[in-house]
């Protein structure tokens, strides 16, 4: 029996590499290595015509000037803060708008549920630029174009389905007996919602929030097309460095900043949703 298991183990090791190898190789080449390049690029000077001093120049061309520039002025921290603020407002708005929908879907009979979910996903099937363009058409005549409101509206519109789906998946699993018990104990509708449903739905809210907050942090198309002169976010800044200003080290340094912010948030979201699940053993 042991011999057989040993043979299986040995066999399965090269099998492991055969199956896991190709995707690993591809992602190492096209995801990990590029990520390292960004770090390297942030420590260089811009080239004479833009871009970078060639990487082959080696250690001699090391320069932390881009970081000195970013860290030396409070205004870059302010842009990061503004991006966080926009992401936070968007997330809260998405929760508010998604909740009734998610609840309705979760409480509907099986057949209708699939239809309702489909109706949520369908707008998502349109191209995201089309969705922004729709708002350009609506806000232009209303004189609301190029305002912070336009930016938030656009962000919420593009990301709402990402909040509905995890939230409804979570709400679907709630045990109706809990609410009945609360009602029997004399709790009113609002109390039942706030003390029972909402806490149980927190893991869903955290998942949805991660799916909204993180992409919004990096967006540039929405502020660029819908925003005004004061609505520059970190994504716009990064895009400008690469495609307009040709200052690649500065763009790379800003990208590293954004990456660190995202990693911190992802870690936070993971920790929170794990804690949420532990604290509410009532979720099936």
């Amino acid at each position: 029996m042991d011999e057989r298991r040993e043979a299986l183990e040995a066999g399965s090791r090269w099998k492991r590499w055969l199956v896991a190898g190709p995707p690993t190789a591809f992602l190492l080449a096209f995801f990990l290595v590029p990520a390292i390049i960004v770090v390297v690029a942030s420590f260089r000077e811009p080239g004479e015509f833009g871009g970078l001093v060639p990487l082959a120049a080696g250690a001699a061309a090391f320069s932390a000037e881009a970081y000195r520039f970013v860290l030396g002025d409070i205004v870059y921290a302010e842009i990061f803060a503004a991006s966080f603020a926009v992401a936070a407002v968007t997330t809260v708005a998405c929760v508010a708008l998604a909740y009734p929908l998610a609840w309705l879907i979760a409480r509907s009979p099986r057949r209708r549920r699939d239809l309702l979910v489909l109706l949520v996903i369908l707008p998502f099937a349109s191209n995201f630029l089309v969705r922004i363009y729709a708002w350009i058409m609506l806000l232009g005549p209303a004189n609301l174009l190029y305002t912070p409101f336009a930016v938030i509206a656009g962000m919420v519109y593009v990301h709402l389905p990402f909040m509905v789906l995890p939230l409804y998946t979570n709400l679907e699993k709630h045990d109706p007996a809990l609410l009945e018990a609360a009602q029997d104990l004399g709790a009113g509708a609002w109390t039942r919602f706030w003390r029972v449903t909402f806490p149980l739905s927190l893991p869903g809210i955290w998942s949805g929030s991660a799916l909204v907050f993180i992409p919004v942090l990096g967006m540039f198309a929405v502020p660029e097309l819908l925003g005004g002169t004061g609505d520059v976010l970190i994504g716009n800044l990064i895009k400008e460095q690469f495609l307009d200003n040709r200052d690649w080290p500065l763009g790379s340094a800003l990208s590293i900043g954004l990456t660190l912010a995202v990693l911190a948030l992802a870690g936070l979201a993971a920790a929170l949703s794990r804690r949420g699940l532990k604290g509410t053993g009532a979720v099936s």
Binding site: L145, Y146, T229, N236
Partner: protein, 352 residues
């Protein structure tokens, strides 16, 4: 599987037909469709255009490895930069029979001595376009940069002004407004320009390189900092849509940036022969006139003048009179150190 083969077949067929295609990387709306169609019929080839709305954007894309363009249409300072990089093929003058049509003052430009690499095509002035009726109603001046930089004027048009999303152009306008040259080297003066811009920024609706054309024509925006030919287009569009207002554009009295855009041949282009035919075609008087009549650009071609519509030839913002020429400057690229300083200045302007 079948579909895959079909797609590959199409790609291959496309590659074969690519032989007779001229790749043109151009400003938006800089060659009219009619002119292109006439050329395509004359040479029995196809023209494929890609667009940019700013020299910086074009140079950034070339830096990022864009290849295969036969012709570019950069402004003077960008031509100089491309020559310095060794990115251009010299023009083969014997192939251009109509080269003599150019006005004498354009034949030996500072950015391309002897006209070895470029053939001027159109000129434009970066100025202010405005909704005539609205500004008359508000009692605002239309011939000064103060219109977009002074809070006392901007108050009345808050949220109805756009400016160009171009480092050199916007900083240049601020410099002219302050009475300095756009080629100023003193960093303190550039800091002044930055201050003027930041003071006015809260009143501006957006930075825009091209959406202002439509916004002006519809009436969403009343004042726009932009290119003279784009303002011409906005005027024509508003007229065609029977809007209840007209679009005017004026060169500000403090001075402005003049751009001379010309055809250059990129080294990576595969059909220099077609490129030369196209340039020669565009040098013919009748075709050269199109750029003025249909696009509203100034014209460096003497043979084109008889064909240019009189009302356009008389428009001072398109064909500036001699007096104006003194106040017009052309942009020149700076050395890397100053460029870096300005680029960081521009980033600050965007974020504050």
């Amino acid at each position: 599987m079948r579909r895959l083969l079909a797609t590959l077949a199409c790609a291959l067929a496309g590659a074969a037909a690519a032989e007779d295609v001229l790749h043109l990387y151009n400003w938006n709306n800089y060659v009219s469709e009619e002119t292109l169609a006439r050329f395509e019929a004359a040479c029995r080839c196809r023209v494929k255009q890609d667009y940019y709305s700013d020299n910086e954007e074009m140079l950034a894309k070339l830096e990022a490895g864009a290849e295969g363009y036969d012709l570019l249409v950069p402004t003077g300072n960008a031509v100089e930069s491309l020559i310095r990089r060794g990115a251009l093929r010299p023009v083969d003058k014997p192939l251009l029979a109509n080269l003599g049509n150019l006005k004498p003052e354009y034949r030996d430009p500072w950015y391309d001595p002897g006209g070895k690499y470029s053939v001027p095509y159109a000129t434009s002035i970066t100025l202010i376009g405005y909704n005539r009726e609205k500004l008359r109603e508000l009692g605002l001046p239309t011939d000064t940069w103060a219109l977009i930089f002074e809070p006392r004027y901007l108050e009345r048009i808050k949220g109805k002004v756009t400016v160009l999303n171009s480092q050199r152009e916007l900083l240049g306008a601020a410099m002219r407004y302050l009475g300095h040259s756009v080629q100023e080297r003193d960093p303190a003066r550039w800091a002044e320009a930055k201050a003027v811009i930041l003071r006015a920024k809260p009143y501006w609706a957006a930075f825009s390189n091209s959406t202002y054309i439509k916004d002006l024509a519809i009436g969403n925006i009343w004042v726009a900092h932009g290119y003279s030919n784009d303002m011409f287009r906005a005027r024509e569009d508003a007229k065609a849509a029977k809007r209840p207002f007209t679009i005017g554009f004026t060169t500000p009295k403090e001075g402005a940036v003049l751009a001379v855009d010309g055809f250059v041949l990129h080294k990576s282009g595969r059909r220099p022969d077609l490129a030369h035919r196209f340039i020669d075609f565009m040098l013919e008087g009748r075709n050269a006139a199109d750029v003025s009549n249909l696009i509203g650009a100034g014209n460096p071609n003497a043979a084109a003048m008889p064909f240019v519509r009189p009302e356009i030839a008389a428009e001072p913002a398109i064909f500036p009179p001699a007096a104006d020429l003194e106040r017009l400057e052309m942009l020149r690229d700076f050395d890397p150190a100053l460029r870096r300083t300005l680029s960081r200045l521009w980033t600050e302007i965007k974020v504050r």
